[in-house]
Symmetry: C2
Subunit: 571 residues, 2 copies
C-alpha cells in the first residue's frame, strides 16, 4: 500500500489489459503528434534551439507516468513555463548560447528539487495562495507577452528580446517596412490552417499539418533564398545522460525564477489534473504526490537535457478526449518523440520559424481570458481589480513581479478586511426564537433593556480595537435603560490572547455600567480557548448559552438549558 | 465643533477652573521633577548629551497639550524610543558628535511627519498589526538591551556600543577587572535608593533623590579624582528655534527607523492614553487625532532641538495618580523644565553617569514582563511562541528586525490558519431544532440520508481547496444512502469569487450524485455576494433557509418559512 502511494504506476500496471491499451495507443499517438511542433515551438519561446523541446518531451513523460497520480496528465514543455524560463535566464546569458542551454537545464534541476521538497514536506497547499483572479490576470498578460515575442518570427524581422509589450509593438511598428513578405505569408497561412482545421474537426492535428505545409512550401518554393528563416540542422539521436552543471552561484541567481516556475507550473498541472480526475473517479489525485512526481520528472529530465516541464492544459485535454486510460498513453507519446529524434529530425531542416510562431500564437492567444474579467466585474469587484493589478503588473513590471504583486495584494486585502469586519445588531423575528440583522430584516423586535450583537470574524489582535469600539458605541446608544448585552459568538471562528483581553474588557465595562454580559453560541474551539485562558471561570459558566433566545429567556428568569447540561469533549 | 476636534484644548481651557488647577499643579510639578533625571538619562540611551533630554521635555509637551485628546498623557523622552533612536543613528554617525545630534533632530521631524500623515489619512488602525504578544516580547528584549547598555556607566568601564546582549556581557566579563569601584558604589547606591524609596512611598521622587545624592557624593568626596565619569558642563538656557537639517538623503537613510519609531511610539502612547481615559470618561481618546498630536509635538519639537518623543507609560500613570485633570499639568511640567534649563543646569555638573544609569536600569528592568509569557503559555500556546520569537529575534537580530519578524510571523500565522479552518459535522440535539458538532456533544441525532456540515471561516481563494476536499470526504463517507447535504453557512463571514466557484462545484458534485444541496443561515454580506455572482439564481432561491431545521423540514416536505418571506434590504 505504501509503495503504491509513492509509485502510483503500481495502481494500474499490474492489471493492465488490452481494452486500456486501445485507448492509450490512440491518445498517446495523438499527443505525440501534437508534441512535435509544440515542443519545438515552446523551446523557441524559452530561447532554446528547437531540439530541446523534443528532449523535454521524452524522459519527463516517462518519469511522471511512474510517479504521478493522474492517469491522463500530459507532461512536457508548456508555453508559460517556457516564458518564465526565458524571463529568468534571458537576463544572465545570451539566448541560444551554450551557457544559456546549460542554465536552462540547471533550472530544471532546481525546479525539480524545489517541487520534490515541497511535496515531501507536504507543502502543496502553498499553491492555494495563488488566487484564481491573480492567476487569470497573470496568464493573460503572459500570453500577450509570449504571443508578441513571436512577432519577429512572423514578420521575419530580427526584433530585440524585450518582454515589455509596448517596446515590442513600437519596435515592430518602426521596422514594419523590413517585413519579409514570404515569412509573413507562410506564418499567416499557418495560423489560418490551424484555425481552419480546428473549426472542421478538432481531432485533426492542425499544428502538424502546418509544419508539413511549411516544410513543403519552403523546400518546394526555395523560400530560403527569399530570406525565410528556417530551423536548419536538427541533431539526430536521443538526449544523452549528462550531469547538469550545478553550482551554488547558479542556485542563488536562479532561485527566484525557480520558485516562481515551481509554483506556477504546479498550479497549472494540478488544476487540469483535478479537473480531468473529476470525470474519471477510478483514481485520486494527491497534490503532494503530484509535486513529488513533477519534481522527479524535472530532476530526471535535467539529466537528459530537458528544460523545465509540467502538465499542460491543452495536451491533457486532448489526451483525455482521445481515450487515455492510464499513464501508458504518456509513455507511448514519449516513445513517438524518441522515434522522431532517432529518425525524423532531418525532415525539420526546412521548417520555417514563422510556422512555429503561428503554432505558438494560436495556442497562447486562446489563453487570454476576457470573459473571466467581465464575469468578475459583475460578481466580485475587488477580485476584478486583483485580476487587473496582476495583468497590468505583469505587463508593466515583469513576469515574476506581476505574480508577486498579485499575491501580496490579495493576502493584504484579506488581512485588511478582517481588521474591520462586518458586525450586526440583532432583533427577534416576531413569534420565533430567531435573531437577525435589524438592518436587513423588517419588523424585527428589539427591547430597550437588551442589546444583541453579532460579530462576523475571528477575534484577533488586528481587529480587537474595532470590536471594542463598535460594542462601546452600541452600549452608549442604548444608554441607561440597557440591562443585558448578549454577544452572539456564532461567527467568531477563533480567538487569540488579544481577543480574550478584549472580551474581558467588555465584561469589565458592562460590569461598571450595571449591564449583564452573556455570550451565546460560542463555538467549540473558541470555548476551549476561553477555558484555557481562564475567561470561562472569570465570567461564570452560567453566562454561556447555546443560543440567543436562551440568554434572553434566562435574563427573563425562564428555565433554559445550559452548556453544563451537555458533556463537552475536549476535541 | 470641527475646531474643537482638531484643537482638543478648546474642550477644557475655556471652562478651566481653580479646582482643576489644584490637581494639575501637583501633578505637573511631580512629573516635572521626574522628568529632570529621566530626560537626561534617556538622552544618554539615545547617545545624546543629557541636555537634549531636557530640550525634548519642553516644546513637545506644550504642543501635545494643545492638540492631544488625552488629558493625562505625559509626553516626552521615553526609554524605548531613545533606544530606537540610538539603533537607527548609531550605524551612521558617531554618538555625541554634532552630526549625530543633527540626525536625531531630523529623525524627530521625520517621525512627526509620518505620524501626522498617518493621522491625517486616518491610518491609525495600522498599529493594530502590532499584536500584544509581539510587543511584549519585543519590549522585554529592548529593556534587556537598554539595561545592559548602561552597564558601562555602572561599572565605569568604556565598553563598546554593541546592541547584542551576549557581546555586551562577554566584553563586560572580560574587562570586569577594570571596574571603577567608586562609580559602581554610587550606581548601586542609586539603585538601592530608588527601589527603597519606592517601597516606602511611591509619591516620593526616588530618581531625583538619587540625582541629588549622586551630585553631593561626587562633589563632597571629590570622586572625579577617582575616575568617576560625570555629566560635566550642561549649557544654560532654553532650546532655541532652529530649522532642522532636512535632506532627501537623510530621509532615505532614516526612513526605516522613522517608521518603526512612529508606530512603536504611537502604540505605547495610545495604549496608556486609552487605559487612563477608561477611568475618566469625561473625554474621548481619538486614535487618529492622537497621531496628529504626537506628529505635531515631534515636528514642533524638532524646531527646538528635541529628539523623538511620545507619551510615556510610567510618567502618565504618575501624572494621573498625582491628580492631573487637564493638559495644564503637562504645560506646568514643561515650565518647570524650562526654569531648570534657565537656572539649574550648573547644578548637574557633578552628576555622575552611574546615577543616570541606575535611573535607567530600574525603569527598564520593570518592563521585562515574564508574567505575560507565563500567562500565554497557559492561555494561548501560539501567542506564547510569537512572544518568544519577537524576544529572541530582537536580541539576536536587532531592534527593527525583531519587531518586523514578529509582525510578519503573526500575520503569516493568521493567513496560514484560515487555509485549514475548523469545520464540523453537525447532529441534532434530541427534541430541539438545534444542530451541534457531533464530536463535541454526546447523543446527537444524525440521519443516514442527511449530512449537515458547518465551515468556520470566510470562504476565499486560500481555503477553497480544503473546503471542497473536506466536503467531498464527508459526502463519500455517507455513501449512497445520502439524499440531502445542508451547508450551515452561519460562520462563513464572506465569500470571494473563488469561494463562489467552490460552492458551484459542490452543487454540481451533489447533482451528479443525486444529492440535494441546501444552504442555511447564509449571512447578509454573503447572500449579497452570491446574488451578484449569479449563484442564488443558479441554485434556486428556495434552497436557502433561515436555519438548519428549516432545510431539514423542507426536505421532509413540512412547511417552513423561506428567505423570500422577508423583505431583504440591500444594506
Amino acid at each position: 500500500m505504501r509503495l503504491k502511494r509513492f509509485l502510483p504506476i503500481l495502481g494500474w500496471l499490474p492489471a493492465y489489459h488490452s481494452e486500456q491499451l486501445k485507448g492509450d495507443l490512440s491518445a498517446g499517438l495523438t499527443v505525440g503528434v501534437m508534441l512535435i511542433p509544440q515542443g519545438m515551438a515552446y523551446a523557441m519561446i524559452a530561447g532554446l534551439p528547437p531540439i530541446y523541446g523534443l528532449y523535454a518531451s521524452t524522459i519527463p513523460l516517462i518519469l511522471y507516468a511512474i510517479f504521478g497520480t493522474s492517469r491522463q496528465l500530459a507532461v512536457g514543455p508548456v508555453a508559460m513555463v517556457s516564458l518564465l524560463t526565458a524571463a529568468g535566464i534571458g537576463g544572465i546569458a545570451q539566448a541560444g548560447t551554450e551557457t544559456y542551454v546549460m542554465l536552462a537545464i540547471a533550472l530544471a534541476l532546481f525546479v525539480g528539487l524545489i517541487q520534490f521538497l515541497l511535496g515531501a514536506f507536504r507543502l502543496g497547499f502553498l499553491v492555494n495562495f495563488l488566487s484564481h483572479p491573480v492567476v487569470s490576470g497573470f496568464t493573460s498578460a503572459a500570453a500577450l507577452i509570449i504571443g508578441l515575442s513571436q512577432l519577429k518570427h512572423l514578420l521575419g524581422v530580427g526584433l530585440g528580446r524585450s518582454t515589455y509589450v509596448h517596446e515590442v509593438l513600437i519596435e515592430a511598428a518602426r521596422r514594419i517596412g523590413e517585413t519579409n513578405p514570404a515569412a509573413l505569408a507562410i506564418g499567416l497561412a499557418g495560423i489560418a490552417l490551424i484555425l481552419g482545421v480546428r473549426r472542421i474537426n478538432r481531432a485533426i492535428p492542425g499544428p502538424l499539418l502546418a509544419v508539413v505545409f511549411g516544410i513543403l512550401a519552403v523546400w518546394g518554393l526555395g523560400l530560403t533564398e527569399h530570406g525565410v528563416k528556417i530551423v536548419g540542422e536538427v541533431p539526430k539521436g536521443l538526449p544523452s545522460l549528462a550531469m547538469p552543471e550545478f553550482s551554488l552561484e547558479n542556485f542563488n541567481t536562479l532561485l527566484p525564477i525557480a520558485l516562481a516556475i515551481s509554483l506556477v507550473s504546479f498550479m497549472e498541472s494540478i488544476a487540469v489534473a483535478k479537473a480531468i480526475q473529476a470525470k474519471h473517479k477510478n483514481y485520486k489525485v494527491d497534490a503532494n504526490q503530484e509535486l513529488i512526481a513533477l519534481g522527479i520528472a524535472n530532476i530526471g529530465g535535467a539529466f537528459f537535457q530537458a528544460y523545465p516541464t509540467t502538465g499542460g492544459f491543452s495536451r491533457t485535454a486532448v489526451n483525455d478526449q482521445a481515450g487515455a486510460k492510464t499513464g501508458m498513453a504518456a509513455i507511448i507519446s514519449a516513445l513517438l518523440i524518441g522515434l522522431t529524434l532517432l529518425f525524423l529530425t532531418p525532415l525539420f531542416y526546412y521548417l520555417p520559424n514563422a510556422i512555429l510562431a503561428s503554432v505558438i500564437m494560436v495556442a497562447v492567444f486562446g489563453l487570454i481570458d476576457i470573459k473571466e474579467a467581465v464575469h468578475l466585474w459583475h460578481a466580485d469587484r475587488s477580485d476584478f481589480w486583483m485580476l487587473i493589478v496582476a495583468f497590468v503588473g505583469t505587463l508593466a513590471l515583469g513576469i515574476e513581479e506581476g505574480i508577486l504583486i498579485g499575491v501580496a495584494l490579495s493576502l493584504g486585502l484579506i488581512i485588511f478586511r478582517t481588521t474591520m469586519p462586518h458586525f450586526a445588531v440583532l432583533g427577534k423575528i416576531p413569534g420565533k426564537p430567531l435573531y437577525k440583522n435589524v438592518n436587513r430584516f423588517d419588523d424585527l423586535e428589539t427591547r430597550p433593556d437588551i442589546l444583541v450583537m453579532r460579530f462576523d470574524a475571528r477575534l484577533y489582535f488586528a481587529n480587537v480595537a474595532y470590536f471594542k469600539d463598535k460594542i462601546e458605541e452600541q452600549l452608549e446608544k442604548k444608554g441607561k435603560a440597557l440591562k443585558l448585552f448578549v454577544l452572539d459568538a456564532n461567527s467568531i471562528n477563533s480567538v487569540d490572547s488579544s481577543g480574550m483581553h478584549a472580551l474581558e474588557d467588555i465584561y469589565q465595562l458592562c460590569k461598571t455600567q450595571g449591564v449583564e454580559f452573556y455570550l451565546s453560541s460560542v463555538k467549540g474551539p473558541v470555548r476551549d480557548a476561553l477555558s484555557k485562558g481562564g475567561l470561562v471561570d472569570k465570567l461564570g459558566e452560567q453566562k454561556f448559552f447555546l443560543r440567543i433566545q436562551h440568554a434572553v429567556d434566562s435574563f427573563d428568569e425562564k428555565e433554559v438549558p445550559h452548556y453544563g447540561d451537555y458533556v463537552l469533549q475536549t476535541n
